[in-house]
């Protein structure tokens, strides 16, 4: 039964659009459709608009939770074509269903780097990381997706096909629709493909680890690195509990700053000289790769996220980004609020740019009370300077965005019937 009161067989209609074999009812009786082209995505959304049905776009399900309000789940896995790739131009365009691991394997063969290293790259899709504005430790040295996504194609909630940008690294023709779609969590449109600027892959890297008794000392070291002439590709903080979550055998209670450098032997020697006595350990080769994979995949460092069954939500992650000066205040708020709720949390973050990520096993069981307690405490401590994003939850923005009216105007323009209602703009 559709919202308009007309009885329709949604599954049958979807099969007529996308083909018999690409529609199933595997998720709690909700039809799951896998369109094979942007045209099919548009037809599905037009059909949903006509009948007032809710659609939830789905990539690798690493950033969102399974939404209850969906009448149709739209999986992007078949949108995995390569639209353009010329390694000499350092650009690539791929379908939204391409996984980050697939993309990296392709460009890595030409010694190039897709500079976004999100959680669970074997599952995370290009469309999904764009929709959730995901990032990993490389965010420090290479910028965010908003900095190197050069073109995007999508279907608006209303079912209109649109594009922004193009295939070249510099382009200001028309509105920058990439910015609008990146981080919109599937509330404005379904991303069908995107183009990116690539980077030359570093020929040699080395990671320098510095351990500190307190977060304050660790952040003071962060400041020293940022003020130095060094330009590391990653600058990551790992809290004692996060470290234990990654490596249960680690009993140390140190806060660690991980500085990853790329360059020749002479460049690495300069890092040693500048960082000096603060360095406890240097990591290279296979163990360096393993270490960064553990940080990227936190809290699924042991790899259990890749085997999590379909239909199971991942653990919630709270991302807090502040002007770097306020990093310590955020950690102090968390230290104060979380124990009062009897919650242990692990914290990592690209502290060079002012980012922290908090994870606690218990988040999934205590409901929304904890997040409101947390956001209230944050607001009183760092005012409106903190931006908070929650992955794996129904509402990605636990602090109501200040520009809600403008957001609603955009939503109304692209999805007037609120078909993409998996995440409410409340």
């Amino acid at each position: 039964m559709s919202a308009t009161g007309v009885s329709i067989d949604v599954t049958r209609e979807l099969r007529a659009i996308c083909g018999e074999e690409y529609v199933s009812e595997e998720t709690a009786g909700t039809p799951v459709v896998k369109p094979g082209s942007a045209e099919e995505v548009a037809t599905v959304l037009q059909f949903a608009n006509m009948h007032g049905l809710g659609v939830v776009p789905e990539g690798g399900m690493t950033a969102q939770s399974f939404a209850a309000q969906a009448s149709i789940v739209l999986q992007t896995s078949r949108l995995a074509q390569v639209e353009h790739y010329d390694h000499a131009d350092l650009t690539v365009g791929v379908g939204a269903g391409t996984t980050v691991a697939q993309l990296n394997a392709m460009v890595g063969a030409d010694h190039l780097l897709f500079a976004c290293d999100p959680l669970l790259p074997e599952r995370a899709t290009v469309g999904g990381i764009l929709a959730s504005a995901s990032h990993g430790p490389l965010r420090h040295g290479y910028g965010a997706l908003r900095d190197f996504c050069i073109g995007i194609r999508f279907v608006t909630g209303e079912g209109r096909r649109a594009k922004g940008g193009g295939r070249v690294v510099k382009n200001v023709a028309g509105y920058d629709l990439m910015k609008l779609l990146i981080g919109s969590y599937g509330t404005l449109g379904v991303i069908t493909s995107a183009s990116f600027k690539l980077f030359p892959a570093p020929r040699q890297t080395r990671t320098f680890l510095a351990e500190f008794k307190t977060a304050k000392e660790a952040l003071e070291f962060r400041d020293r690195v940022v003020r130095s002439p060094l330009a590391p590709i990653c600058l990551e903080l790992v809290s004692p509990i996060a470290r234990k979550m990654m490596r249960p055998e680690m009993a140390s209670d140190a806060w660690v700053i991980c500085v990853r450098a790329a360059g020749s032997d002479a460049v690495l020697a300069r890092y040693r000289k500048e960082l000096g006595m603060a360095i406890n350990r240097e990591v290279a080769g296979e163990s360096e790769v393993t270490m960064w994979r553990a940080i990227e995949n936190f809290p699924y460092s042991a790899g259990d996220g890749t085997t999590a069954r379909a239909g199971e939500n991942l653990m919630r992650r709270i991302h807090i980004t502040v002007p770097p000066r306020d990093l310590l205040a955020v950690i102090e708020v968390m230290n104060r609020v979380m124990p009062s709720l009897q919650i242990d949390f692990g914290c990592i973050g690209h502290v060079g740019i002012g980012h922290l990520q908090f994870v606690a096993q218990q988040f999934n069981h205590v409901g929304t009370g904890i997040t409101s307690g947390l956001t209230d405490a944050l607001r009183s401590e760092v005012g409106d300077k903190a931006t908070v994003k929650m992955d794996g939850a129904a509402n990605p923005w636990p602090i109501t965005p200040a520009n809600l009216a403008s957001m609603r105007a955009v939503k109304q323009a692209l999805d007037p019937n609120n078909v993409l209602r998996g995440r409410e703009i409340s």
Partner: protein, 479 residues
């Protein structure tokens, strides 16, 4: 409302000395650095966000169009007034409101001159990265509206990569704050969307920008080639070697002789082309890269690779590049600069194509451009007093842009669409693409009060407004 009444109201808002309406004053605001002009009905100089808010309320209720204007250095007609329009000029909102060195941010008013910001934070070892050639004159508000670039955007990105927040006045007069000092936005990235929207969705009155740390070492190389083709091939050879220079500029032989005559930058007079290559960063890294770049250039048959010995030599090399447009002004009464983009591997082919276009139309076309990111600036010399020449020049420009698009490129890399290229938008975008963009414009600026007639092809806007009551704003859309 009659224009005299509008002027009276504007004076009440911004002050008696803050409005121009005499024809001889208005003439100064009828043009930008491109080739089009139109005299506005009035110019108003707000001094704060509240003034802008009141001006927008007046414009919306009285139904006259407005356009925001920085220094008027744009090349696409973005700040040219619509018919019967009022220019909001930001010359009096030119203060740096805050420098937050610890968080590497500055809060500025839109009228702050680009270079002034870098000058003001130099003592902290910081700078503002976007560096249009007009940076001594252009304003940060204008940079935001057009999403401006410059030579050093190859490594550090265009304006949008350096803006984290802004205060915007909507057509209704409502004041909205987007983003902030943090590196990520809460909710949609409307800051990113507003940058480069060419003044069509809101008027920016405060901007939060990133500041970068000055590099420890800078190496500036001048690679000299016998032929333009050798120079062009070297561009992708450098990136293929895994090096991303901070800047990678190209001048063809004809242009560099013209520049040398005007600027005495020390460019060789008998070369086919030169590449101006800048490397920045850690001393060890810059030295290695400089050596690697030199090797690539020599492999690609460079006749000579020079390196600036000191800051004076470096400044001289850049002076030639940044004043090139002006230098060409010595050779013809006017020039028309295009801004197409091609994938960088297509640079040799596009330069050959441009040579063919010059022959076909009997025009002089110089090439001086951001080679590293494939952003061309063919400069077509002409005499504007000859209407036939202007027509040929525009046709030649169109041919070049059509070629750029046909090889996967774009019609504009950093100058914006504005008036100049609005009717070329269908080369890149389908009707449906443009309809989606138009519905976003209408989400904020439905009545077309803000900068009507820009960015969208005339045909689309007419379709959108057909049947609406005809007020001056809507009439201006079809200008």
């Amino acid at each position: 409302m009659r224009i005299s009444a509008v002027v009276e109201q504007l004076r009440k808002i911004a002050g008696r000395d803050a409005v121009l309406d005499r024809p001889e004053d208005l003439m100064l605001y009828e043009y930008d650095a491109g080739v089009r002009k139109r005299t506005p009905a009035a110019v108003v100089f707000p001094q704060n966000t509240e003034h802008v808010s009141q001006i927008m309320k007046l414009a919306s209720s009285a139904g006259f169009p407005v356009v925001a204007r920085g220094a008027g250095t744009g090349l696409s007609g973005g700040s040219i007034s619509p018919e019967g329009g009022v220019v909001i000029a930001f010359a009096r909102m030119n203060r740096i409101l805050e420098v937050d060195a610890e968080n590497m941010r500055a809060v500025v008013q839109p009228g702050v001159v680009n270079q002034t910001l870098s000058d003001n934070v130099a003592h902290l070892g910081l700078y503002f990265a976007p560096d249009p050639s007009s940076q001594k004159a252009c304003t940060i508000g204008g940079n935001v509206a057009e999403n401006s670039g410059g030579p050093h955007t190859l490594a550090s990105g265009v304006t949008v990569n350096h803006v984290t927040g802004m205060t915007v006045v909507m057509p209704s007069g409502e004041v909205v704050r987007l983003g902030g000092k943090a590196a990520e936005s809460n909710g949609y990235d409307l800051t990113g969307f507003f940058v480069g929207s060419e003044g069509t969705v809101g008027v920016v009155t405060e901007i939060i920008v990133k500041l970068l740390r000055r590099p420890e070492r800078v190496a500036t190389l001048l690679a000299i080639f016998e032929t333009i083709d050798d120079g062009a091939r070297t561009v992708s050879a450098i990136t293929a070697a895994g090096i991303t220079p901070a800047a990678l500029e190209m001048l063809d032989g004809w242009t560099l002789r013209a520049v040398e005559a005007a600027c005495h930058a020390g460019y060789p007079l008998d070369a086919g082309a030169v590449l101006l290559i800048e490397l920045e960063g850690l001393a060890e890294q810059v030295e290695e890269q400089a050596e690697a770049v030199r090797e690539v250039c020599v492999q690609q048959r460079a006749r000579e690779v020079r390196r600036a010995k000191d800051e004076t030599e470096r400044a001289l090399l850049w002076k030639g590049r940044k004043n090139a447009f002006a230098a060409l002004g010595r050779l013809a009464p006017s020039y028309y600069s295009q801004d197409g983009v091609v994938p960088r591997t297509r640079i040799p082919a596009v330069l050959e194509f441009i040579g063919g276009v010059a022959k076909k139309y009997g025009l002089r076309i110089g090439n001086i451009f951001h080679a590293g990111d494939g952003n061309l600036h063919p400069l077509i010399l002409f005499d504007p007093r000859d209407p036939k020449q202007l027509e040929l020049v525009q046709q030649a420009g169109r041919d070049i842009l059509e070629y750029c698009v046909s090889v996967g490129g774009s019609i504009t890399g950093e100058h914006g669409v504005g008036l100049e290229k609005r009717d070329l938008m269908p080369l890149l975008f389908t009707d449906e693409d443009l309809d989606v963009m138009l519905s976003l414009r209408n989400a904020f600026n439905a009545a077309g009060v803000l900068n009507p007639g820009k960015l969208f092809p005339t045909t689309r806007v007419c379709a959108e407004t057909r049947g609406a009551s005809l007020n001056p704003v809507l009439q201006a859309e079809g200008m």
